[in-house]
Amino acid sequence: MESGSGDGTGGFSGVDDYETLISTTDADLLKRSWRNEKAAPEILQFQSSLVQRSREQIQLMEETVEELVTNDEDPLTISLYQMDIDRTMFLLRSYLRTRLQKIEKFMFHIQKTADLWTRLSRQEQKFAKRSIEDMKQHLEQSVLSKFPERYQSHLKQSVISEEDDMVPEPKLDAFVICRTRKFLGALPVDDSGEENPLDMYAGDIYALRYKSIKPLIESGQLDLV
């Protein structure tokens, strides 16, 4: 997709200078968001304006293709356009799908963590709410209703547990592969307290713990691959 310059989505604003901003297309942004979402263990901020723009552009391109078909244009040109649409559609679908699968997996954790909950789109929140209801009911019917009240929580093992000790959580200290987008300087990459800063140059690829680079991904200085 050639049209449309990235006019700064929430997550990437304030980082890129004007030059790179103007040369980044929405297709690039979508690809980047999709990659990050695929590789990150937890759910990331929903790129609502990007998704909105991508869908509008897909629609526009579909109209163009129809026009080309009615004008009896060269079939090769049409199929190239069609392929472009298909690829963008795949990115978009896969992006949304990956997010839904994360919601399915960590629904209880996302629900009780306000920070994560606000990362979901309105439709995703609705999806999560319904999924949680369904799962809760299923667990209650199958197991919990057969227990005395003290043991009936689906989040805690029993009333004595102080914290929710039965909620699956994403492993934030998992290793991820990431690429720097610009020189970041020395970076403390582990919390062992050791003096072990890492000089990160643009385009370098590292395998690091997700936890330690989380803020850099959120601000768009690092990409996951």
């Binding site: 869908r55 392929m83 679908r93 319904r130 799962m135 667990l139 057969k146 227990f147 093992q157 039965m166």
Partner: protein, 238 residues
């Protein structure tokens, strides 16, 4: 050395006492082992999970109603004993320190065993539910009977509800079907073979095709994908 002719085995577990009398040493030990296995707290629940783990990932084995019910029963047994011990503790007050301790730890063991069983049951149901969630991506509403047989009634209900939730999310996005395009597209058209009679004038997005059995066609990927996931077509790769 000749084996002893009679073996008496006394086993005391919980509040049951059993005396076994066997003539054969081998038989005695194997039966005792079975007995102990069946009596060990939490053994059944772990069996349940082992069964799940051993099944191929993404595949379900039949819901094990029998063992599941037995574990629930074991849980109820724990609760009864736990309550009995707690009552006893209240009634007796602080009389004898040794028996008080014994009761206290007894109660603790019942509590811990119960909680362990609960974790196992929940893990069994939850992990199966995750597999069922994935089925919702492949089959929209109707599960094939072969899979249906393996689910418990609550699981069937869960599948229906969850796939409805998924469908409603997609219709919220102006009917964007997320269940197609599971692999990155290389070519807009793919070569497929029809495996099941589908119909002879099926309207697809760019053509009206005769989808008779064994026909080999060149279809748009988007059109073919739903048939492929239902097993009605296969992609031919050259």
């Amino acid at each position: 050395m000749s084996k002893p002719k009679h073996n008496f085995v006394v086993s005391q577990l919980g509040h049951e006492t059993k005396i076994y009398k066997f003539y054969d040493h081998e038989q005695c030990t194997s039966q005792l082992r079975d007995y102990l296995n069946s009596k060990m707290y939490g053994r059944k629940a772990s069996q349940l999970l082992k069964e799940f783990v051993n099944s191929e990932s993404g595949q379900l084995t039949g819901f094990n109603n029998d063992v599941f019910a037995e574990v629930i029963e074991e849980c109820n047994g724990h609760v009864l004993q736990l309550e009995a011990l707690l009552r006893k503790k209240q009634v007796e007050g602080s009389s004898d320190q040794t028996s008080k301790n014994a009761d206290h730890f007894g109660a603790l063991i019942h509590h811990l065993s119960f909680v362990r069983n609960k974790r196992c049951l929940m893990a069994y149901v939850y992990n199966r539910a995750e597999v069922i969630q994935n089925l919702g991506w492949t089959f929209k509403r109707d599960l094939p009977d072969a899979i249906k047989e393996k689910l418990s009634s609550s699981e069937k209900e869960y599948f229906e509800k969850h796939s409805a939730t998924l469908q409603s999310y997609m219709s919220d996005l102006n009917d964007l079907d997320l269940a197609i395009d599971m692999v990155p597209p290389k070519d807009p058209y793919i070569k497929v073979r029809v495996l099941e009679e589908i119909g002879n004038e099926v309207v697809l997005s760019d053509q009206v095709a005769n989808l008779a059995m064994h026909a080999i066609l060149f279809l748009k990927r988007n059109d073919a994908e739903s048939y492929i996931s239902q097993g009605k077509m296969e992609e031919l790769t050259s």
